[in-house]
Amino acid sequence: MASVPMEHGLLIAGILFGLGLVGVLVRRNIIFMLMSIEIMLNAAGLAFVVAGAGWQQPDGQIMFIFILTMAAAEVSVGLALILQFYHHFRTLDADAARRMRG
């Protein structure tokens, strides 16, 4: 199997992570923020898989399964929160929940 160099895989993971982060920071719609967080999680998972493949270790894949499980849980909690958020504020704009005055 023609191996992809580890650097390339990690680079993609890094780019994905950066895209997710930017998404979290610039998006105001809370659903998109949740999606961006999912992207960041998957970027981390990808980095594990790439590293596991590169070093010929099973640990990376095991960690990815963990991340997958956690992501599922996170999404369910996150969606529940979003439902409540919408119920409460009648909007999906994350900044609308700003109540603190510093």
Binding site: V24, L25, R28, A94, D95, R98, G102
Partner: protein, 630 residues
């Protein structure tokens, strides 16, 4: 039987613990049951101990009970140990019995007050500490009780703390006695440094062995202990706190500020009598201070209009008599006067308390009046108390104790005519001011309708105390009248006997007759001035000189004014000047720094979740950069 001794102070302390921990869940009935019950059991145990002590005295007439070692610091090993001898037997019986009667009275008197359970908690704590004080085997343990009763006095004087004046009076009492307590603490340091022990009996033995009579150390130690006694017993020049401490509830005034705590100084001097014998100068000072105090307080009592302040000044004056007795070496006469005073003064306070409530919390004797027909029982109990205070001859306990003091002062080689004349003048004043209160508050026309009808819980203590106020004197009779010396014989097992000069019975009879006539003259003068010719009293204070004198006595010889100018104002000025010095700048700088940091950081708490996320991202980038680059 004596083995149960530790229970006597432990029971009131246990009552306190129960009331303070669970008191908020108790209703008034169970609060008073715990509060009064613990002291009642303690009183019956004290009586049992006293009977057993008198019936089958322990070897050498003292009994020691070590509970446990308090601490151990090289050769300093104070113990929680109790010491029972004739002196402490007398003290514990009086404290628990009078304490029980006053608590019984309070259970009705304080009914409906806020903090009813707290009141009983503090009273129990007080009784426990007072018993600790008189039973302590070493001076450190005694000091624990000494400070304990001080804090209870503070708590109870300021019991009605919602009025600022009461709180101030409590603070004043606490601070003024602190002067004396500091002197006493230094006295303890001095004693330990020089004699290497604080165990009282050991201390006294070593003092006799190591110090010659009149040596500088002995004088210093005795003077420092005297300082403590002056503060606690409200003697000149530290007497200013007691009249103000009357801000507390009346049962508190009766128990703490008349019967027991204020006589702690008398107890301390009697307990350490060896030291005072080694320092004749200080012992003479005790007598002189006693006479000056009893006269000054007597004149002040003559002019007061508040019934409780009259009684407060009379307490100061009567403790002056006790100091006079101690000063001339008549130890048992001083303690005897303590016993009778505890009975008749608490009787007076409790009767006055009923009268005050009956007059709708009016304490001004000029506005009371005419209670005689409306409250006959209280009138008679007050009369008995006042007669005992004035030492009405033959039938009152006060007569026998005061007579013992005056005779000792006359006959002792340490006494003298001048001291005796002072005591005699004091007796005249006592007669006048005590019956002045009786006449103004109880005789004459009724000025307000009485609606308060006390129950038996109030009457029973009054009647028992009245009986004690009469019969307590019969245990000690002078040579001229029956020659009964049960009390002084009993106390001689613990205190050195008095050394009266060799005077015949005739001389004693003449001296006693003079004292008795003086007292009756005082009562008659009060009758004449305040009842028969009521206008005379007003005419007396019309001239400028007598008016000024009246005012001077009324404000307690201006001691408050002097102390205000001498200590309080300079202290306040110094505190004000000292408020902005360099050291404070440092602390203000720290405060400023904290405030700025707080404000700038709290500015970042915006509630914008994206801002937080950005913060986390930037933070991790910076951290990573540091880790990678360094």
């Amino acid at each position: 039987m004596l083995g149960i001794l530790w229970l006597i102070p432990a029971l009131p302390l246990a009552g306190f613990a129960l009331l303070i921990l669970l008191g908020s869940r108790f209703n008034q009935r169970s609060s008073s049951l715990v509060g009064v019950g613990s002291v009642a059991i303690s009183a019956s145990l004290a009586l049992a101990v006293a009977i057993s002590f008198i019936g089958s005295p322990p070897p050498n007439f003292h009994y020691r009970q070590t509970l446990w070692q308090w601490m151990q610091l090289s050769n300093f090993r104070p113990e929680f140990a109790l010491y029972l001898d004739a002196l402490s037997v007398t003290m514990i019986v009086v404290i628990t019995v009078v304490g029980f009667l006053i608590l019984l009275y309070s259970s009705e008197y304080m009914a409906g007050e806020d903090g009813y359970n707290l009141f009983f908690a503090y009273m129990d704590l007080f009784v426990g500490f007072m018993l600790t004080l008189v039973l302590a085997d070493n001076l450190l343990f005694l000091y624990l009780g000494w400070e304990g009763v001080g804090i209870c006095s503070y708590l109870l004087s300021g019991f009605w703390y919602k009025e600022a004046a009461n709180g101030r009076a409590a603070v004043k009492a606490f601070v003024v006695t602190r002067f004396g307590d500091t002197a006493m603490a230094m006295g303890l340091f001095l004693l330990f440094m020089n004699l290497g022990s604080l165990q009282i009996q050991e201390l006294m033995q070593r003092a006799v062995q190591q110090w010659p009579v009149g040596s500088v150390v002995a004088v210093a130690a005795a003077a420092l202990l005297l300082g403590g006694a002056l503060g606690k017993s409200a003697q000149l020049p530290l007497q200013v706190w007691l009249p103000d401490a009357m801000a507390g509830p009346t049962p508190v005034s009766a128990l703490i500020h008349a019967a027991t705590m204020v006589t702690a100084g008398v107890y301390l001097i009697a307990r350490t009598n060896v030291l005072f014998t080694l320092a004749p100068v200080v012992q003479s000072a005790v007598a002189v201070i006693g006479v000056l105090t009893l006269l000054a307080a007597g004149f002040s009592a003559l002019t007061q209009s508040d019934i409780k302040r009259v009684l407060a000044y009379s307490t100061i004056s009567q403790i002056g008599y006790m100091f006079l007795a101690l000063g001339v070496g008549a130890w048992s006469a001083g303690i005897f006067h303590f016993v009778t005073h505890a009975f008749f003064k608490s009787l007076l306070f409790l009767s006055a308390g009923v009268a005050i409530v009956a007059c709708h919390h009016e304490q001004n004797i000029f506005k009371m009046g005419g209670l005689r027909h409306q409250m006959p029982v209280v009138f008679w109990t007050f009369i008995i108390g006042a007669a005992s205070l004035a030492a009405a001859p033959l039938v009152t306990s006060g007569f026998y104790s005061k007579d013992a003091i005056l005779w000792s002062v006359w006959s002792s080689e340490r006494g003298g005519n001048l001291l005796w004349a002072g005591g005699l003048l004091g007796a005249l004043l006592t007669g006048i001011y005590s019956f002045r209160v009786v006449i103004l508050a109880f005789m004459g026309e009724a000025k307000a309708p009485v609606t308060y009808r006390p129950s038996n819980l109030v009457y029973i203590p009054l009647i028992i105390l009245s009986i004690f106020s009469v019969v307590a004197g019969f245990v000690e009779m002078p040579r001229t009248l029956g020659d009964l010396q049960l009390f002084s014989r009993f106390l001689e097992t613990a205190l050195p006997p008095a050394h009266p000069g060799h005077y015949g019975v005739t001389t004693e009879a003449v001296v006693q007759l003079i004292a008795a006539v003086t007292c009756l003259m005082g009562i008659y003068a009060a009758y004449l001035v305040f009842l028969r010719r009521a206008d005379l009293a007003e005419r007396l204070v019309e001239t400028p000189i007598t008016a000024a004198l009246h005012h001077w006595w009324f404000v307690g010889w201006g001691f408050d004014w002097i102390y205000d100018k001498l200590f309080v104002q300079p202290f306040l000025w110094l505190a004000k000047v000292d408020k902005d010095d360099v050291i404070d700048l440092l602390y203000q700088g720290i405060a400023l720094l904290n405030r700025t940091a707080h404000e700038s950081l709290s500015g970042t708490q915006t509630g914008r979740i994206r801002g937080y996320a950005a913060g986390i991202a930037i933070g991790s980038v910076i951290t990573l950069a540091i880790v990678v680059l360094l």
